[in-house]
Amino acid sequence: MISDKVKLQPEVVEAVVIRFVGDSGDGMQLTGTQFSDTSAMFGNDIATFPNYPSEIRAPQGSLYGVSGFQVHIGSVEVSTPGDNLDLLVAMNPAGLKTNLHALKPGHTIIVDSDAFSKKNLEKAQYETNPLEDNSLENYRVIQVDMTSLTKEALKGVEGLDNKSITRSKNMFALGMVYWMYGRSRDYTIDFFKKKFKSKPHLIEANTKVLNAGYFFAETLELIPNAYTISPAKMRPGTYRIIMGNTATAWGFLAAAEKSGLELFLGSYPITPATDILHELVKHKHFGVKAFQAEDEIAGIASAIGASFAGDLAITTTSGPGLALKGEALGLAMIMELPLVVVNVQRGGPSTGLPTKTEQSDLLQAMYGRNGESPVIVIAASTPANCFQYAYEAAKLTLEHMTPVILLTDGYIANGSAPWKITSLNDLPDIKNRISKNASENCHPYDRDEATLARNWAIPGTPGLEHRIGGLEKDRITGNVSQAPENHEIMTKVRAEKIKRVQNYIPEIKPEFAEEGDLLVIGWGGTYGSLHSAVKQINEEGHKNIGLAHFNYINPLPKNTEELLKKFKKIIVCELNNGQFAKILKINFNGFEFLQFNKIQGLPFGNNELIEEFKKLVE
């Protein structure tokens, strides 16, 4: 049934945003992934945003148990999962209620009307049925008895219980959306064939339901409000769809191979970082040693041990885990060993919002250790460039002999996007500082003149036996020293070593405007949101707004102050209460840093950013 109160005037647009919502057991993540992968294969640029509750199976039909997957597909460059929806697919009343606000007026809702039972309506706290009370009259509502139609489609398929029949209704919805957007079903049917290799009846069942949905939409001639057909103009190359966490894991694989070292991961499961562990444990064929330790501390401790023994060592975690690793990180820092700590940030403090995104561990990364203990801090900014920055983190830690914290966040870690595959040959060299031979006058804390990095003498090398530890050490011999002047010198040397990393990282280059009225500053995972907002506002005629997005936080790029001087106003946008703004204030006097902060466990919306920026330039 289609309500035709809204007149449909389909238009071809550059990009559309679709959101699939339902119970956390309804398979919305799978549905969304299939649609985005299929679109990417078709040649669209895509950006995705899975949003799910922290409960594995929240009570059915409840408002807090709604799981959603949003995908933005475009014939142009797409840098965020999008703000306002062109299509909402709601598998139950709770999903409709919690997501309707994001749908553009006049646009389409597909609902499974079978799920709008009295019980489900009550659970979603609807007093009257929204499908009957005219509350949706500003939208185009397509009511489909999806559960019944799925059952009908599966009549005669043997070996299916009621539960698996009902659960495959997500494929009916997917089939409908495939027809609406002119997508092929082949990728998903191939997926069934692989996934259910040993269960042919499930291949048959899922394919039947997918087809049923597809033909149902065809019969009704369900045309979307807006659609995009042409592939995006992307740089030539070979692409694949990659999730941020996978890209992070692969960046380290590449760095290990390039540096000629074995990769060691010491880790403890924590949302949303665990997928990096899941990925790396698979790669024993590259000699990866992925060690699931008894806790966060043992995770980093084992990595420190592996680093001492000559592996490229990393540990992965999220905010609460970084807090637990703090003391050990200080140890790695004073011992001047290479180590990468990946913090996939989530909402805090404490357990906070484990499945939601936030950028609130920045100050913890900068200062969350006892004593004067600076480390290199860098941040990835898109799902795909998690690869690049994981690689860069490994390169920096090995070449500068000091720990690196790599910040990503739940949003880019779980989001996926096309990645132009980088071959190992195209990556910069990594020179490790392992000492091969003993020489007369070698000491553990001899340093490279330019970088101040010490040499890496690993066990098994005759003549280089030495002891290091958490106690302050003599600046030459590395022996324990409590001498007052020596401690001050060592403290300053360790700080200077981080500062000199500035000479090895790129300068910050603003986008859209080199100088002008407003400089929008961001860092880390908000790049997509800020980029599309500043781009749009420029296209609307405000040519004097620039975007400076930081991937290097400690140290900051050399030319940062110079850049700040070129703009009349500066606004720092972050998903926290102003942590990067604080860092900029400490470093650069004489500037007013305006702030735009959002602390809702969600990424920035396009409109809220544009509105804010316009206020500042009009």
Partner: protein, 337 residues
């Protein structure tokens, strides 16, 4: 002809140039010298030896050894040592720890390292007190013990390290007094030879804060009567006159005298350190009289590295991925022209 000269070390080769800073008369000196004497007997190259410690008096140990070493943070040495060993299984890795370091702040790592059975050696200096922080009760201090943090007597019942270790799955556990360098040296050599995690508990006197804590067990004039030194395959016999022994009476170990009530040496239990079932080993570590010393348990089992290594070989043999590029360009990719 190729000349192969095998380097024979002496204890001096393992002595670092650092001044040893323990209190005069501390058993730690005995343990240090025992180790420096044990290493030349192990047939291991000096550059392949790594000492890892946490925090506490015992944890200063690595500085005094002319090998690779790391003096790390409180309680975490087992985790760090695990990483060292997994990164390079060729190394002989030693964890030097105390009762507070291993069983209080590091308790979690202590039980898990024993459970996994990585081929590491742990030497536990048990002096039933915190030394470096100057005299607080530790997880092995006795109930009633007066310390700086228990002026009216300790109210926390202690761990028996061997009981905890066997409960956590330890495959090798030895206990030895801190005043018998020869036996300590031999036990270190045996621990080194053992494949898997080995744990040596040294009953170590702290001359400053808990002086005499083991004197009723380890002093020369009482040790033969108060200790039973266990050796694999030999009867459980002890006493100055070698006339006492252990038998099993229902579910308890009982001390008997040879020659009394018709008891002969044949009736005594024979020590089987290699038995998989730790029940009898558990009874032995809990025994208050006599106190069991020697290698109480030495059960040969598959190590963590062996399991990992077998899996890695299998995965490598069956994998189509030799280089990261093989992985990156595999599966669902598409080309934009």
């Amino acid at each position: 002809m190729e000349a192969i000269t095998e380097q024979k070390y002496t204890f001096k080769d393992f002595t670092s140039d650092q001044e040893v800073r323990w209190c005069p008369g501390c058993d730690d000196y005995v343990i240090l010298r025992s180790m420096q004497k044990a290493l030349p007997e192990m047939g291991v190259k000096r550059e392949d030896v790594v000492f890892i410690s946490g925090i506490g008096c015992s944890s200063r140990f690595p500085y005094y050894m002319n090998t690779y070493g790391m003096h790390t943070i409180h309680g975490r040495a087992p985790g760090i040592a695990s990483g060292v060993k997994l990164a390079n299984p060729n190394l002989s890795v030693w964890v030097m720890t105390g009762d507070g370091d291993s069983m209080a702040i590091g308790g979690n790592h202590f039980i898990h390292v024993l459970r996994r059975n990585i081929d590491l050696n742990i030497v536990l200096f048990n002096n039933e007190i915190y030394g470096l922080t100057k005299g607080q009760f530790s997880p092995t201090s006795l109930v009633g013990q007066k310390t700086k943090s228990s002026p009216y007597g300790n109210t926390q019942p202690p761990f028996i390290p061997g009981e905890l270790a066997l409960g956590a799955g330890a495959r090798f556990f030895g206990r030895i007094g801190g005043n018998v360098p020869k036996e300590i040296t031999q036990m270190m050599i045996d621990a080194h030879k053992f494949k898997g995690t080995s744990l040596i508990e040294v009953l170590q006197n702290c001359v400053i804060f808990n002086d005499g804590c083991f004197s009723n067990i380890t002093d020369k004039d009482v040790k033969e009567d108060k200790q039973i030194f266990l050796e694999h395959g030999k009867p459980m016999i002890f006493g100055k006159n070698r006339d006492k022994g252990l038998v099993l009476n229902k579910l308890k170990l009982e001390v008997v005298t040879i020659g009394e009530n018709g008891i002969t040496q044949e009736d005594l239990l024979v020590h089987d350190a290699k038995e998989k079932d730790p029940t009898l080993h558990q009874m032995l570590v809990r025994l208050e009289y006599p106190v069991a010393t020697g290698i109480i348990r030495s059960f040969d089992d598959v190590t963590f590295e062996e399991r990992e290594d077998a899996l890695t070989k299998q995965v490598k043999a069956n994998s189509k991925f030799k280089k990261t590029d093989d992985l990156f360009f595999s599966g669902e990719t598409y080309t934009v022209k």
